[in-house]
Each structure stands twice: as C-alpha cells, then as structure tokens.
Symmetry: C3
Subunit: 329 residues, 3 copies
Amino acid sequence: MLKGNLRGKDFITTQEWDYDELESVLDLASEIKKEPGKFSSELQGKSLIMLFFNPSTRTRLSFEIGMTQLGGHSVHMDAEKAWIGKGSESIKDTASVMAKYADGISIRIFPNITDWQYGKSNEVVREFAKWAEIPVINMECDMFHPCQALADILTIKEKKGNLSGKKFVLSWVYHPRPLPVSVPNSALLIATRFGLDVTLLHPKGFELDEQIMEWARSNCESNGGSLEVTQSMDEAYRDADVVYVKAWGSLKHYGKFEEEKKFRVDFRDWICNEELMELTNKDSIFMHCLPIRRNVEATDGVVDGAHSVVYDEAENRLHVQKAVLSLIM
Amino acid sequence: MLKGNLRGKDFITTQEWDYDELESVLDLASEIKKEPGKFSSELQGKSLIMLFFNPSTRTRLSFEIGMTQLGGHSVHMDAEKAWIGKGSESIKDTASVMAKYADGISIRIFPNITDWQYGKSNEVVREFAKWAEIPVINMECDMFHPCQALADILTIKEKKGNLSGKKFVLSWVYHPRPLPVSVPNSALLIATRFGLDVTLLHPKGFELDEQIMEWARSNCESNGGSLEVTQSMDEAYRDADVVYVKAWGSLKHYGKFEEEKKFRVDFRDWICNEELMELTNKDSIFMHCLPIRRNVEATDGVVDGAHSVVYDEAENRLHVQKAVLSLIM
Amino acid sequence: MLKGNLRGKDFITTQEWDYDELESVLDLASEIKKEPGKFSSELQGKSLIMLFFNPSTRTRLSFEIGMTQLGGHSVHMDAEKAWIGKGSESIKDTASVMAKYADGISIRIFPNITDWQYGKSNEVVREFAKWAEIPVINMECDMFHPCQALADILTIKEKKGNLSGKKFVLSWVYHPRPLPVSVPNSALLIATRFGLDVTLLHPKGFELDEQIMEWARSNCESNGGSLEVTQSMDEAYRDADVVYVKAWGSLKHYGKFEEEKKFRVDFRDWICNEELMELTNKDSIFMHCLPIRRNVEATDGVVDGAHSVVYDEAENRLHVQKAVLSLIM
C-alpha cells in the first residue's frame, strides 16, 4: 500500500515530506482508525524515547498510548533544560547513545527553552536528528507541529471529502499569552499542500514568518489552491468551509512580553463567536488544536456547537501518529 | 461468575456500588491472587491514564504494575494544579479527549488541591467522570479511597472468614499533620456494608462527616451489623477482632492548620501500643493502610507484631484493583 | 549455560559476586546482544521498580528499554528525599510492600542524598535489599556502579580479547564539580578482577577509599593481574591498551565544596588529549562512562577519535543489564 519506504525517515515538518508520503500516512491512519486491532503487534518490542523539554498532555498521551496500541513502549523523559545549556552533555553524545537503545526519538521543545529566538528550538530538534541513527519526530518545536498538521488534514478530509475549492480560514484570535507560531505555521503549510483555498486572517502585526509564507505560496502553485491574507473577519469567515482558530504571538515582539502585551491587548475582541460562524457555510467545521481557553479564543457556544469537530481532531492525533510511528520505526 | 455487567462503570465510592457488585470484585480479586497468570492478557492493548494531583507510592505502584500484569499499560501523569485553576483547560475538554485515547482514567486528588474545602476534590473526580466516556476510578480524593476499602475488606475476609458478629474498631490516632478523612470514611462505609459490628473510636472534635455516618448507620440496618461511637480506648479495643488504626484531621478546623494543631496536640498519647492490643481477642488483626509513622500512630511492637497484617493489606491493593480494572475496562 | 543459579540475588557491587557468576552475566550479555529477539519474552509480565533519588538519562533509558525488550515493564519513580529523611515511611515498610507488587527494585542514589557521608548511600541500597524479598540492583550509589563495571569489562573483552598482560589505565581528570567515586571504585574492582595490569593515575589527594584499594590488591593476587599507582601521566599512558578516563572528587574534602574547589583547581590541566593518547599502544581504546564534559575531561579529538569506544561502552550498558535482569528476576 505504501507509496514509498519511509523507514528511518525523520519527521520534522510536513513540508519536507513528499505529497505521496503524506498521503501514505493519511491512508494508513484511516486504516488504523478503522481496525486498530490489526496493528497491535506492529511495533512489538520497539521503544520510543519521548523528550519533553516542556510538559504536555495531549501529545504525551497520544504518543504513549499510540505506542502501546502498536505493541511497543515509550519512555517519558522530562528534559527541561538538559542537553542545551552550558555544561550539559553534548547533543551528539546524547543522541548517539539514545540511538543505541531505542528505535525512535520524539521531541517537544518550545521557544522559552531557547530564549525566544525564533528557529532555535527547531535547530535543537535537527541537532538530535543529525546525530541519532534512528528517526526523530517533532512533537512541536518553535516552528512546526507536523503531527497536529496531519491530524488537521485528516479531519478535514474526513468531514469535507474532496478538498478542491474548499475555503479554509486560519483565524488569529486573542489569548493573554503570546503562544508559539508552530501550529499556525503548520496549519498553513498543510492546508496549502492539500489544495485548499486558504484565507489567513490576523490583525496587522501578527504576520507569520516570511519563509513559511513563501512555502505556502509555492504549495498553492504546485497543488492548485490559493492563499489570501486579510484583516477582515467578515470577509474571512464568509462562506468558509473550515474555520481553524488559533492564538499566536507577534514575531515582531518575540520574547518581549511586556511590549507585546501592550500591543496585543488592543485585539481582545478577536474571538470566534456564533455570529461569525453564522457567516460560514451551513456545514462548515470549527477546528482548534486544543487546549482552548474558552470564551477568550472562542465562545462555549462555538466550541460545544454543531460546527465543532475539536474532539475528532484531537482523536486523530492518535491515529496519524500511530501511522507515522509504524512507517518510520 | 460475575453477578452483573460492570463494564464502563465508574468507581468513585464503594457506597455507590451494589453489595453484589462489590462481592463480584472480591471474588475475582481472590481468583486473580490465586492464579495471576490466568489473567495476563485480560487488558491486552488497553491503557489507563493515571492522574496524580498528588504524588503516591503504593497507589501508583499497585495500579501501574496491576495494569502490566493484566497485559495493559498505564500512563503516569503528574497533574499538580493542572485542569483546576483559572486559565486551565476545562475538565470537559480534557476528559473528552482522554476518552478518545484511553480505556480508563484513575485520579488521586487530595484536599490541598482544592483549598481544603471538604468535598471539592471529590467533585473534580466526578467532573472527570461526567465528561469521560470511559470509566473513572477514584485513587483517593478528599472523601473516599474505595480501592483501599476493597483491600481492607478482602484482608478481613481472608483472616476472619465469616464477618457476622465480628468486632471492628476504627481507631483515630495522633499524627503531627491533619490527614484527609478519605480512609476512615471508606473504612467505616465498607465495614458497615459487610455486616461487621463497628466501634468508631476518636477524641471529641474528630467526628466524621455526618453524611458518611448516616450512610454507615443505614448500611448497618441493611446488612445486620452495628455502629457505636466511643471516646474510650479501653472499651473500644476490648474483645476486638479487627483493629483498624488511622490518623485524620478535624473537620471542624479543616484547612486551618495552626488552629487545628493547638487542638490536636492534646491527643498525642493516642497511639496504638502493645497494651491496647492485649485487650483484643487473641487472634485479632491489626490493620493500617500505610504509610504509617511508626511510634507515633502505632508502636514498632504493634506494626511488626503477631497481630499485624499491614503488608497483606497492602498486597491486596494490587489484587482488588486488578479485579476492578478487569471488570470495568 | 549458566554456571550458577542467580535467581533472587542482589547486585550491589561486582565484588560480592563470584568470578563465575560475573562470567555468566557477560556470556549471556553477548548472546543477548547477538540475538535480542530470542529473549523477548524472558521477563514477560514481570515488573521492575526503578527508584531514582537522582535523575538519570543513560541508566534510566537502558533499564527501562532493557525491561521492555525482555517483555517486562519498569516503573520509573522519582524518589528524591522520600524514604530517607525524618517523618518518612520506614525503608522496611516501603521495601516490604514493593516486594509484594514487583519482581525487582533498582536504585540510583548519589552522595548528596545522604549528606556526603561516604558509604551512607550504599547503606540505603543495602537497607532496601535487607527488607525486600525480591532482588535489588544498584544503579549507582556513592560507592559502586556495578552495571557500569560490567559494561566496561564487556567492552574491553570485545575489543581486546584475552585480557592477560593488557595494560589498563584508570586516569583521574579534572571536572569543575566533585563527582562521586563510584565509577572509579567499580572500574578498579572489575579491572583487577579480570586480571588486567592496572595503573591508577591521579594527583596526590585524590586517593580512592582504602577498602577499595585492598579489594583491588586482593583481586590481583587471585586473578593474576597487577596494580600500580602513579601521579605521572606519561608513565601511565605509555603503552596502555585501555585508557579509562574519569573525574572524581577528593575523599579528603568530601562534601566540603569550597575547600575542595581550591584544592582541585590546581589540576585543571589534567585532561586526556591527543598527545597523551599518542603514548598508548596503536590499537588502544579510550573509555568513558558518559556523560563527559568535552574539552574539560577529554578533548573532542579524543572523544571523537579512532581510539574512542565510548558509544559501544554505553550500548553495552543495555546488554549487561538485560543479562543481570534475566538472571536474577
């Protein structure tokens, strides 16, 4: 069934995998979702080291339980500042030894670990991948959250079928803290990769990384979708098929929390509510990667409403990750 | 063998399970204890999420190893203040997603997590149970410790056989810290449920929750036992068949530590010692849920003496929990 | 194949195991390394409780993954100061209960946990072993690191074949912190046990425990090796077959960090570099237990150089531990 041999491949961003490879993962994820029992010995005796520089619920649970359901085992390591600061063991040594014991490494590392220097956390993931002779999976760095992206696109395919001509809105919303851009980056990349007509909605000052935007535009060219950027909520939500809501911090004030707060606070009314959802297509879906701050990012009415597919989306994390693990480990 | 189908049922307090259901668990626990190997694939591929808002040794070990021995897996999560305070993810969202990944959730949450407002920790457990479409097990909240209760009654049945007419003393003892009432509550409920003649011994001011007392009295009526309350150690210990020792805090001064300390310190001599045990029946048993502060709650002579069954009692945690997990997951 | 029945035996120091028993472990480790799949059900359904009073990477990963590869399960417990200070549960109670649930206990405990009183951490391990009716494995205390010793000697045998007449240098090197002596103690004991000609190299003031030295000398007598102590780097490195580099603290200033620092800082130039390695035999091997502080303990040139076997040595931790676990549990 698989269109390519993915054994040993790192998964750091969807952007570095071929379209066919991504399709393979999604096909396998759907099969695993339908008949989980068929895959219960897939990773028998295999071990995944999960490095959490930052704590996590959903990611940790879905990876750990996913490994179990495939017959394997995962080791949960609280990594905090280990392997990064002065006086630490080199990542070369750590990764080389890990590769002697385990069959895969997955890493969660947020911008705070690398002093809010955009791209630095991603470099740590890549440093592990460079030295480890086993595949490395990005469980979210400061740039990418590729497993979330896969869960997102699987959910959209399940709910919307053919994606061509469907309107996907990626909407910035307010949050009291400046969250990483990994999720919007990844959502933008995957949506343009799968040919959706994307509208990126955010206030001025919350532009995404220009490199990501470039990739997104090039994705559109290759895959037949489109990309528009707007500051108009009405325009964005109108006739949308998919509303993807996410809070993120301003890259212009990255890591300068007080300065950012003053800037951000003007946009407190950027919340996804029932009125905005009224503008969308009748059968549109509301997505959020969770955790969501209710009645700040979106109202209870939206989160618990008929459009919402947030729990299905969260569930799909399990299935896509099991697919990725099965294919690369 | 099972007298009812318990699949999917929450286990928050023994009081909410029928007598027959509790008997089913105890029967199965005995069978598992005798032939553990027979049950080694019982929960193959199934996962239990263990949420520890407070750390634990015995509970964590017995649940985690129990799951392993049944062929399943448990995820150990340090939950601390997560999912409770302001700005946290809603319990609805957390529990709903957990139910997408796992087959059960078990929760340990002490009164300190919910600001020493009696009953509030129990509400958190019930909130998880409300939203999770998978069974929830109480690993001890501020009101109940039902798994301890099952281990206790199994131990008593093993050692004493027919429980009718047996004298069970639940004895308050001193401890420098005001401990939760979950264990005495649960011991009282299970002992009255199984028809023991219960003597509750404590100094004035350490009364248990009136709702629990009411349930206990009603248990006696239905099950043929009796309940007496006394402040006289001599009277309580005399002719006892089972001595169950436990320290707990005064509900009247709940959460007011300095005030409580002044009050509690007068009862420093409330310790279970060899002289008191001399008053009991020759073949009486000494029980404690552990951990015990030796020579404060009970003397070494008692804990290590001939009456003591504390390690058997601790062992039975494993067997009853395996039975519960097998039946509900 | 096994020369003795090791079931149930504690593993606290290699010194307390017979030579034949150690050989059994090494033979089994080699077999496991060659055909890991043959042993995938060896510990089916068995559980190891790993108590970490101090955090760990290599040890934790190799034990946890080792248990998994043998079909068993390990429980990772952060123990910190639990079971040691005032007001804690007695080790008797803890160990007795653990023995009711699990099939083995492994313990990591550094000198800081027992106030830098040399030998006290080892006593904690022995206290657990005294009360637990299941085998206890020392994952490094303040005196011994027996699993490291086994990995070391396996690596040496793999690389050097017949050990008779081979020159083994145990070289002190500088490190900004006073590290435990468990690794040099254990390396000295295992090297003399297996008949190597040992040269112990360190500055004056960094002598090892006299009891260890006595055991080492007695090992030489029984096993045909030799032991010399020198302060001359040149003399030590010349014609060496094995260079084993390790930083350790001065027992004379044990736990007095400021005092030790003043003393230690004079020896900052004690680093293993390419020039020193030039003095060794052409096919000599460079060993270090890791983590290593690069360019402080040894230069990058050495750690990444042709002599270095540090990753093989780390890998062998997995294999020897799987052998020990298989034999005693």
